[in-house]
């Protein structure tokens, strides 16, 4: 099978989201493993700027040709930006899950929550078990 990328500078959730800290805000997207499992992504539904999202609650969805999958928030916070490009180019999720396909940027209620998420090593264990 493909070798799936798990960058070392990110944190991860059990639900296959990644989180990247950029100063006081964090970006969130789905992992290489998640996009590979889903197949061709054709639609991404995201919240609006200003929305509050809550850890473990659904904040949007991604749809492949075949199925819909909810996006679960790894941490709580307020949405400060959404990646509008995904509306016209959902294929970025397949092509560039960690760069072009960041989904939302939030201001966390507590930046310390990020450190409680899975390390790259622990996330690799999660995906090896699922495989």
């Amino acid at each position: 099978m493909n070798v799936l990328n798990v960058p070392k500078d990110l944190r991860y959730s059990e639900e296959h989201e990644w989180v990247k800290t950029e100063g006081q805000t964090v970006k969130i997207g789905i992992t290489d493993f998640a996009q590979d499992e889903l197949g061709d992504i054709v639609f991404v539904e995201l919240p609006e700027v200003g929305d509050d999202i809550e850890a473990d609650a659904a904040f949007g969805s991604v749809e492949s040709v075949k199925t819909v999958s909810e996006l679960y928030a790894p941490i709580s916070g307020k949405v400060v930006a959404v990646n509008e490009e995904l509306e016209d180019s959902p294929e970025f999720v397949n092509e560039s899950p960690y760069e072009k396909a960041w989904m939302i940027e939030i201001e966390p209620n507590d930046l310390g929550d990020v450190e409680k998420l899975l390390s790259p090593e622990d996330y690799e264990k999660v995906i090896n078990e699922e495989d």
Binding site: G39, V42, F43, E63, S64, K66
Partner: protein
């Protein structure tokens, strides 16, 4: 997961790394590379499908044709030796037991090809009605099926057979054809909306046939295709899928396969009185095409509303890989089924606007 039934190509899947899923109790690939790429290969070139999970039931004997006339909604007496016919089998109440293809191999020798997940149910149903002078056999474990579909399917298959495929018409077949050294039944049928062939061979020869066809089609850009592309292809062509467009609660007339229901054929058949009444008085529900106006993709079982009234539900929906539109098939009240009607689809709790459009969405 250990008790899933395995296709004869299970080893091929393992080696290729294709993603497999539990499909009606079978361990089958959703995709080999990408649903979109596989879909496009079939629309533009040629694709190869393993559909060995499909059920095969032999019906033989002096009374076989009369028996099938009684079970089937289509007129089996119109079928010539070497011909194939699409039909439904119904319950007395007009609901659908299954949709299938009938092959007439000899005047007293028929082969029924049925949906995998219905094979046991169909076999029981047929046995429960079988009269004297008919023998019925479930050959599903002996016969494999590989479909080669797309505009270049004939060109590729012709490299492996001596018969002239250009003279084999739609819904015609030839039995005992040598396909690259493998005795097969070659039928000009399919489930993709494209030209193509369905090839039946002995279970143990399926791997050889698969590789022979892939090799023969290399120059034409043949791609192995999974169930994902099979579903999007049949969806665009508005081919019904049992379990979605057809169920025990949906009549073949409602599902838009009235062309396979001959209520005026000379003999009686199971379901006739209900189907005849539906044909004369109008069907209660109708299968329509939906195109989303708002964002979102309609999916199976999403409710469809006209203003505040629920008028039906989506049976299949996806983003059409050919048309790049978010489309659905929906079974709704006939009285609200006019083309151009604006409806709402309940997409996970949000009402999204859609419009009733013509289906099939794609015709070659």
């Amino acid at each position: 997961m250990g008790d899933l039934k395995q296709s004869p190509l299970a080893e091929v899947y393992k080696k290729s790394g294709a993603k497999t899923i539990d499909f009606g109790g079978w361990d089958l690939p959703v995709q080999f590379s990408s649903i979109k790429e596989e879909h496009q290969a079939v629309r533009e070139r040629v694709g190869l499908f393993d559909v060995s999970h499909m059920g095969e039931i032999e019906v033989k004997g002096s009374e076989a044709e009369n028996f099938l006339q009684y079970l089937m909604t289509n007129d089996v007496s119109k079928l010539q030796v070497g011909g194939a016919q699409y039909s439904a089998m119904c319950y007395e109440n007009g609901g659908t037991v299954d949709d299938l293809i009938i092959y007439k191999k000899e005047s007293e020798d028929f082969l029924l090809v049925v949906n995998a997940s219905n094979t046991d149910k169909d076999f029981e149903w047929i046995l429960s009605h079988v009269p004297e002078g008919v023998t019925v056999r479930n050959s599903s474990n002996d016969i494999a099926q590989i479909a080669i579909q797309g505009p270049l399917a004939e060109k590729v298959l012709q490299k492996l057979v001596k018969i002239d495929l250009s003279s084999l018409g739609a819904f015609k077949f030839v039995d005992a054809v040598n396909v690259g050294g493998i005795q097969s039944l070659v039928s000009r049928t399919g489930y993709t909306g494209e030209d193509g062939f369905e090839i039946y061979c002995p279970w143990g020869e399926a791997v050889n046939l698969w590789h022979a066809l892939l090799d023969a089609g290399e120059e034409e850009g043949i791609l192995p295709c999974g169930l994902g592309a099979r579903d999007t292809l049949r969806f665009e062509a508005k081919h019904a899928l049992y379990g979605q467009e057809l169920t025990p609660e949906i009549s073949p007339l409602e599902a838009g396969i009235g062309f396979a229901v001959k209520v005026d054929k000379p003999s009686d058949f199971i379901g006739k009185s209900v189907l005849k009444a539906q044909k004369e008085n109008g069907i209660p529900r109708k299968l329509v095409g939906l195109e989303m106006i708002d964002k979102g993709i309609p999916r199976a079982h999403y409710d469809v509303y006209l203003e505040e009234v629920k008028i039906g539900e989506v049976t299949t929906g996806t983003q059409s890989p050919t048309l790049k539109k978010n489309l659905g098939l929906a079974l709704i009240d006939k009285s609200h089924s006019a083309l151009g009607t604006e409806v709402d689809v309940d997409i996970r709790g949000k009402r999204r606007k859609a419009i009733i459009v013509k289906a099939p969405f794609y015709k070659r």
